[in-house]
């Protein structure tokens, strides 16, 4: 076997591609680095700049709006605990990372999802790409990410986006395709343009499904923070990573607990955004 068919040099091809991109598209990567880095810094500034008590109040109010008072109570206790354990600063770094990754996922994911819903051929191309993004181990694309974007938060965000974006695309596509055919007919019959149909009929009706996708994306982005910390992204992930390498069970648990609290809080708030205002 080995003699008849020499091994395909897939590894060399990929390295050549990466080299080529690095040589010729350096400016593009610099721009991406600036934008993403700027976004993360902006969020971090916002979250860390505000006094923790004010942010706790805002988050508790959001949680209260999202659900009933049990969630608000949980948020209040949870956030106080994070503060008490001394992880507040890092939790805010993580939040900034997750929010940036989530935002980018939405900005790219929803239009791509809409495109998929409108054109079958696009969906047929995008679907395997999404499968690839979700199943390829994250460490694998961390390597070229470092190559292009250096160490730190930017490659962390990029890795998170790659891993977290597929649910938004998939569920946007699904949500639009699930709009009943007769409503599309009604919209067309009255002379809607494609854009009017999208904005006035398809997106409002797909909203719960799309929001479920965004919720999933944010959860997945949060699950990437530990991996992102391995290439220098700050935050709770870095605390977990340090605890693991130094075998500090207690500290690891504390940082992990903070991540769980953040996860539940983000999940409930984003979930409720999908359910709201649906008669």
């Amino acid at each position: 076997m080995g003699e008849l068919f020499p091994k395909l040099p897939v590894d060399r091809w990929i390295e050549n591609v990466v080299d080529f991109l690095d040589d010729h598209l350096g400016i593009v990567f610099d721009m991406i680095t600036t934008v993403i880095g700027g976004l993360v810094d902006l969020f971090a500034l916002l979250f860390s700049g505000l006094p923790s008590w004010l942010l706790i109040i805002v988050l508790v109010l959001l949680a209260y709006r999202a659900g009933k008072w049990p969630i608000a109570l949980f948020s209040f206790i949870g956030l106080l605990l994070i503060e008490n354990l001394g992880y507040w600063e890092h939790a805010m770094d993580t939040l900034a990372l997750v929010m940036t990754a989530g935002l980018i996922s939405v900005i790219i994911g929803i239009p791509v999802g809409i495109w998929c819903a409108r054109t079958d051929s696009v969906r047929n191309v995008v679907t395997p790409v999404l499968d690839f993004m979700q199943t390829m181990p994250a460490f694998v694309y961390l390597i070229p990410a470092i190559f292009f974007f250096g160490l730190g938060k930017v490659p962390g965000v990029i890795a998170s986006v790659i891993f977290a974006m597929p649910p938004t695309i998939r569920l946007t596509n699904l949500g639009i395709r699930q709009v009943p055919a007769e409503l599309i007919e009604a919209s067309d019959a009255f002379g809607s343009t494609a854009w009017q149909k999208l904005v006035k009929v398809q997106m409002p009706l797909a909203r719960p499904t799309v929001m479920a996708g965004i919720n999933q994306s944010i959860m997945l982005a949060l699950s990437m923070v530990v991996i992102a910390s391995m290439i220098g992204a700050k935050g709770l992930g870095a605390d977990v990573y340090r605890a693991v390498t130094q075998i500090k069970i207690g500290a690891g648990f504390e940082a992990g607990l903070a991540i769980v609290i953040m996860a539940i809080l983000l999940d409930r708030i984003t979930q409720s955004m999908g359910k709201k205002k649906n008669a």
Partner: protein, 466 residues
């Protein structure tokens, strides 16, 4: 000039539908084409014209292509071939913008499952058509409210569709289509999802609205009774082909082929056919004749009553055999024994409104036109004959002076069995002088009371005879 003109409109579903067109033109059936090419012919060379202000019903069973046809008219489904001319402009040739413009301004559509937007309030639903024309809120809201009050839903503006019953939801659907004030309404099985009583109400209301709106309505249905009730004309479809186009009466009385005949077999004819379809020639006499002539005439024609008319055939009254006998014995004129209170109906009176009148009348019910002109008479036998599908189309066109009583009473034996059983009853009742039915419009309350008791009397008598 027709509002809508459809020419050779064809829709073939499947890959490369053009392949089927030569076969369609050769006149091959849907089944043959499916076998040869694997393509499904949805609509097969449909051609028809719809006049402005007309309710044109397209009827057929499921799978007959009627819903496809209506969607070809506004290109919700792209036609494979053919023309759809609305006000002379061919929809099929239009580009996207032109099509949108026609859909916005000229075509309103009402859907079987209502197709209301669940995320919008009733008012916002009705506003939809205007909203996408970028008409400002201040302008479109009054129009939407007006449309809602037109369908009787004022006060429900802020509800959501799922808070409304099916009938109300479809009213919203109708209001949404009307808010744009389109010339043409496409109604795809609009009332089929409603339960029977609500459906009937909606049909009545549509007809009522139509009386003032004068829209051109294309109405799709699988329900023949509905088609007959609301259609000015009906197109019957089978396997994508229009089998027959005609008025409800034409479809019922002259089915184009076996398929149509089978289709109309079960219909409630009493709600479609009217007095003019079943009336027979009246046996008449003028007042210058004497009782002896009258008796002779009755004997010759075997009837027990004669309608008295003047030379212009204006109905004056009726003389019965008993009355004429009395006149003869007491040397009275016909005029003095003539009964003036007699049941009359207009030629457009539907059969089901005739039942009571005919059943309880001792004399044939007179059908009168303008200026009280006697057009013919309706007897029990002819009503039954009409229900059984035997319509007498020759009345009024070929007068025969010597028309016999047998024909009058619908006793052409063999035409139907029920007739003979009924005849003695009517004769018997007419012999009874106490029976006196007054159904003229001039009748007073006393007369109305008489009718009541006499009706009962006649009814009892009739049962005895049976």
């Amino acid at each position: 000039m027709p509002k809508i003109k459809v020419e050779q409109l064809t829709k073939v579903f499947g890959r490369q539908p053009q392949r089927a067109l030569p076969l369609v033109k050769q006149g091959k059936t849907k089944q043959e084409i499916l076998k040869e090419t694997g393509l499904t012919v949805g609509v097969n060379q449909a051609s028809f014209e719809v006049e402005a202000g007309e309710i044109f019903v397209i009827m057929g069973l499921s799978g007959s292509g009627k819903s496809t046809l209506v969607r070809l008219l506004n290109r919700l489904i792209e036609p494979t071939e053919g023309k759809v001319l609305i006000d002379h402009a061919d929809i099929v040739q239009m580009n996207e913008q032109q099509l949108q413009e026609v859909r916005r301004k000229k075509l309103g559509m009402v859907f079987q499952k209502f197709a209301l937007f669940p995320h919008r309030t009733v008012l916002e639903n009705v506003e939809f058509g205007l909203e996408i024309q970028n008409i400002p809120k201040s302008e479109r809201e009054p129009k939407a409210r007006e449309a809602l009050s037109l369908v009787g839903l004022a006060g429900w503006e802020d509800s959501y569709p799922d808070q409304l019953s099916g009938g109300m939801q479809q009213r919203v659907g109708l209001a949404r289509a009307l808010a744009n004030d389109p010339d043409v309404l496409l109604m795809d099985e609009a009332f089929s999802a409603l339960d029977p009583l609500i459906r009937k109400d909606m049909q009545d209301e549509l007809l009522e609205l139509q009386a003032t709106m004068q829209k051109t309505i294309i109405f799709i249905t699988h329900d023949l009774d509905e088609a007959l009730k609301i259609g000015d004309r009906i197109a019957l479809m089978k396997d994508g082909t229009i089998v027959q186009i005609g008025t409800p009466e034409e479809i019922l009385t002259n089915p184009a082929n076996e398929y149509v005949e089978k289709f109309v077999e079960d219909v409630d004819r009493s709600k479609v056919l009217s007095a003019e379809h079943v009336m027979k020639r009246a046996q008449t006499i003028t007042l210058d004749k004497g009782p002896r002539v009258a008796l002779q005439l009755m004997r010759d024609s075997g009837v027990s009553s004669l309608y008295v008319v003047d030379r212009k055939k204006t109905l004056l009254g009726v003389v019965t055999a008993d009355a004429v006998n009395t006149a003869k014995q007491e040397s009275l004129t016909l005029e003095s024994v003539m009964r003036k209170e007699i049941p009359t109906v207009s030629p457009k009176t539907l059969l089901h409104e005739l039942f009571d009148l005919v059943a309880f009348s001792d004399i044939p019910v007179a059908v009168v036109g303008e200026q009280n002109r006697l057009l013919g008479v309706v007897v029990k036998g002819s009503v039954l004959g009409g229900l059984a599908g035997k319509v007498n189309p020759e009345v009024g066109s070929t007068p025969h002076a010597d028309q016999t009583a047998a024909a009058m009473e619908g006793a052409n034996s063999g035409e139907n069995a029920g007739t003979n059983a009924m005849n003695p009853a009517s004769l018997n009742a007419s012999a009874n002088t106490r029976v006196n039915i007054g159904v003229n419009k001039s009748e007073n309350k006393q007369a109305a009371a008489d009718v009541k008791t006499d009706e009962e009397h006649a009814f009892a008598e009739e049962r005895q005879v049976k």
